[in-house]
């Protein structure tokens, strides 16, 4: 497709624990198009942040295998000198914690200016300064001239997150990765930041990968959604399909475990997310969390099936899945 911006094929990202490598991202295949928000949902340990860091080449000591094509350029194995021409320019990232993601000893103007300096070396100092002010206006920061001279600790969390967004969009990126951009913020600030990201998409026609654990944020922002569990994509669909006709047991369980209208008891997913070293590497990874389903419901090597056009689900267990009746005693989630 002409509009494909990012094409990830069979990506494996493994970390070394003691003397073995364990895949935190396990055989992920995914595309991101221009002018689209792809949400990646999952809980901690699902591999969603590891995936984002792999795209940006930010892992220090990980083994990355497979292919990440960004505008037909291979990112896996790309030397840093080449990668640094892309990072912060066509490819950029917004981080989770605005309190720690800025250098405490550098003023705001310099931190944003640095992103411009690194990719537009010919720009004069004056022009750069103008661009910084411009960006601060764009992300809705009042009194930009003064804010430039200030240091991170003088700004509130919401303001700092705007500065981080300004850094990320400094060179009009084509792909923007937002890793839990509002998790650390208050709800009213969250709404403002989400509006801002949405506006940026509309103005710049960028592709956006939005990583979050918050299903409400997904429902508000995404065009397509990938649900990750234990390093794998378990379901991939457009946002309306995913919320109306979720198929994978994990997706359905997640949707049932958040408080919703007229719900008395929340659904509890049995057991816990296995740690990286203890992931079941064979068979359906979600099987042990839905033990009331018969073993034969699962595939031996679960694959992503395209059950409807553009709607993918891993394993066959979704066909047999049902929520347990309360008397069966699974609702406590006691392990």
């Amino acid at each position: 497709m002409a509009d494909t911006l990012l094409e990830i094929q069979h990506l494996n990202t493994s970390f070394r624990i003691h003397d073995d490598y364990y895949a935190a991202v396990d055989d992920v295949t995914l595309t991101v198009n221009k002018n689209e928000v792809l949400a990646i949902v999952g809980e901690s340990g699902s591999g969603k942040s590891a995936l984002a860091f792999s795209i940006m080449g930010l892992h220090n000591r990980a083994k990355i295998e497979g292919s990440i094509l960004f505008k037909e350029q291979e990112l896996v194995g790309l030397p840093y000198s080449k990668l640094n021409q892309l990072r912060g320019d066509q490819l950029s990232m917004i981080f989770q914690d605005p309190l720690t993601a800025l250098n405490p000893l550098m003023n705001i103007g310099d931190q944003i200016g640095e992103a411009i300096l690194l990719h537009q070396k010919k720009l004069t100092k004056k022009k750069r300064k103008e661009r910084v002010i411009d960006l601060l206006n764009q992300v809705g920061i009042p009194r930009p001239e003064q804010i430039c001279e200030q240091f991170p600790h003088q700004l509130s969390g919401g303001m700092r997150q705007r500065v981080i967004i300004a850094i990320a969009i400094a060179n009009r990126p084509e792909l923007l990765i937002a890793d839990e951009p509002t998790t650390a913020l208050d709800v009213t600030i969250q709404a403002q930041i989400l509006d801002l990201i949405r506006e940026l998409k509309e103005n710049m026609h960028a592709g956006i990968i939005l990583i979050t654990h918050d299903l409400g944020v997904v429902a508000e922002m995404a065009d397509r959604v990938a649900v990750m569990y234990a390093g794998q994509i378990v379901e991939l669909a457009d946002v309306h399909t995913l919320f109306e006709k979720p198929l994978h047991p994990y997706t359905r369980s997640l949707l049932h475990s958040v408080p919703n209208e007229g719900q008395d008891k929340l659904h509890v997913i049995q057991g816990i997310v296995p740690s990286l070293q203890h992931l079941p590497r064979r068979g359906c990874r979600f099987a042990e969390r839905i033990p009331w389903l018969d073993g034969s419901a699962h595939e031996e090597q679960p694959e992503l099936h395209e059950v409807e056009p553009e709607h993918f689900v891993r394993c066959t267990c979704y066909r047999h899945f049902h929520f347990p009746a309360e008397r069966e005693g699974w609702t406590h989630g006691i392990s």
Partner: protein, 308 residues
Amino acid sequence: MPQVLLLSVLVFLMAQMMPGDALSGQIDPNIDPAAIEAQREKLGLNNPWYVQYVDWVGSALHGDLGQSFRHKMPVTDLIGQRLANTFWLAVATLILTYLIAIPLGITSGRYNDTLRDQLITGYTYIGFATPLFIFALVSLWVFGFKLEWFPTGGSVAPGLEPGTFPYIVSKLQHLLLPALSMALITTVNTVQYLRSEIIDTKQKDFIITARAKGAPESRVYNRHILRNSLLPLAAFLGFEITGLIGGTIFVETIYSYPGMGLLFMDSIALRDYSVVTSVVLLLGVVSILGVLLSDIILSIVDPRIRIK
């Protein structure tokens, strides 16, 4: 300021508790004890300690620290000469300390757990384990007596005109070995400190932000990691100065370098109490000033604690 006050009281009381007083050594034993007693009364030596203390502080504030009864000259003059020597020794040591610590600490922190890092940390462990006075003695013996690269005592060669070029060179020659042997030992603290600061800063989120901007590693280190890691060293400077004071006492004694440390040791040996108390008080004031200096430096370089 309360620290200085407390220190002065302690020093004064300690001097008071020592046997004898300023008159006991100075007097011809044939003089009538009654006359001595009269003299004591006149000099205020029979007053209660707090009255004497107030007198002493009063004159100290006017620059009068009393008489050295061994050198037969005012303590202020005596210290004045020595102070300059010690000051230059301390400055040289401090410069050498940082000249050694900064490159070693940076290399060790940046390439942690590599061979380079292991060699450097190995050196710091040896530094921690070696007592300064032994190391100073050994280097004096090797470089001073055996190899004769450096002079073995004093602060300047005799017979040179102060202010001339050969005079300054000679001063430097006399400084270098004591300063270097002290720096090589005291620097290991700073190396270790810088190393752990860098390793710590390397893992901060804002470093990831810098990389995500597309900053090359050299820039990540120079612009983001270094400044944030060197900052705590400024806070460490005060302690460094306090440590130097202890160090100079050993080193000056070993190299017979005429500074405050040597004066201090000699005065103790000679029971020259007025000198001892003055030196202790002065060293105390300097170490407190060191801490103050750290605070000032920190408030200049760290925007978070900049005075509004």
